[in-house]
Symmetry: C2
Subunit: 248 residues, 2 copies
Amino acid sequence: MPVNAANAVDKRRSLLHETRCQNCSLSSLCLPLALELEDMEQFDAIIRRRAPLKKGEALFRQGSAFNSVFAVRSGSLKQITTEGSGDDQVTNFYLPSELVGLDGIDEKTYPGSVIALETTTVCEIPFDRLDALSEQLPELRGQLYRSMSKELRDDRRMMRLLSRKTADQRLASFFTSLSDRFRRRGYSPYSFRLSMSRADIGNYLGLAVETVSRILGRFQQQELVEVSGREVHILNLEALATQAQDEP
Amino acid sequence: MPVNAANAVDKRRSLLHETRCQNCSLSSLCLPLALELEDMEQFDAIIRRRAPLKKGEALFRQGSAFNSVFAVRSGSLKQITTEGSGDDQVTNFYLPSELVGLDGIDEKTYPGSVIALETTTVCEIPFDRLDALSEQLPELRGQLYRSMSKELRDDRRMMRLLSRKTADQRLASFFTSLSDRFRRRGYSPYSFRLSMSRADIGNYLGLAVETVSRILGRFQQQELVEVSGREVHILNLEALATQAQDEP
DNA sequence: CGGCCTGTTGAGGGGGGTCAAGCAAGGTGG
DNA sequence: CCACCTTGCTTGACCCCCCTCAACAGGCCG
């Protein structure tokens, strides 16, 4: 066996090893969170590995056939839905361990495109096999129900934000929410890099890009955050959280 | 046996008969939609009957323990979430056959209160038993996944409405959506009665009551609808649907 | 009849959108 | 290596949509 072929096998084996749920650092947050080791192996067996997505590449497009849900392994993505002529709406950002595509189950097509914001790896989980396995594994089924329920809950929070909060409160909410999500994933809640553009943020929060920019400037004056490009340092998380509440 | 006792038995029997899924006129829309007759009996067996709610009564309150989901049988309800001091947000309206409470699964408490808008009857479905039954009945499980998925999809539509649409478009969307929901339930899509107040509508759509009132007036001038109190006649559904799209 | 609640209508002001210009960073080709 | 362009972000000026405040009308019930 030639040397490079042996290397290729090693590499594949190592990749396979890395991408097993049992060894995944996210397993305490991800879908198989509640599974015993033995059950996790069953779950692991139905997962399809995917080549990493490059920045800007689509995991899937709006309207394409729904077959799988995806768990984010590393990187991040945005969901955008298009209606009518070219008017996009960013409806979600996805971070590692989060499930993408649950809103496609009902009509068997994805209701929005999902685009990588940076180099991103995902685990593909064919939904029919997930459903079948959820019959045998009550913990898996429960976790799936909980994931969808959580997303519903988050959506309600987002609706409140969009219909009642001022631009300042929206951005404060955005930062505190991101901070919290990073914290849960073991990253610093105070220093992180935004993988999305100002345009994405504005679109997501229902604000013009210019407004996002202006308020970011104001937050810096108030020494709530320090922002340089996409690099964010939160200086006063508590004050931000206060801002984020919706009192006038 | 005294006459009135016999009557009571009859009445109870009749009530029981009425409230069985097999005889429910909504069964083609509701959760057991995909079930065979035999399976439906199993499903029917776990449902708890409830006394009708009067207008203004709560099905449950925000923060109370989650144990059941509910299927609306007749009437309608609103979901409201309270945050901070007295600032309510209407996050949903529920019509017959729709499922209430799915967003409580995750954290084992209901994230909002659900209030009857009129005299309303619901079927209570204890979630642990529903979950257990969904293990045996793949169709039931599938329908539950689909229901949650549909709600996610609807939420995304709502977010788009709240972040991109003008007040006119929001109200046009609201009416076309209601019209469509009535149509699917076998009611007239052109004539119906709003069970919610202007304040509820405004709150739900992220608008002030005054704005709702003004735009309703404008819609009448344009002969799109005829509104008298809570009685609505849609005169030009197509034009309303056009309005509802989000082109400037 | 007189409160109370819901809904309508008018006047005024502000938050944030739109339009426009400028600037820094990064890529590309000469 | 530099001129050029593109992309993303910031800042300023203006103005419009919708919120706020206020008064009022109608329906319901005591």
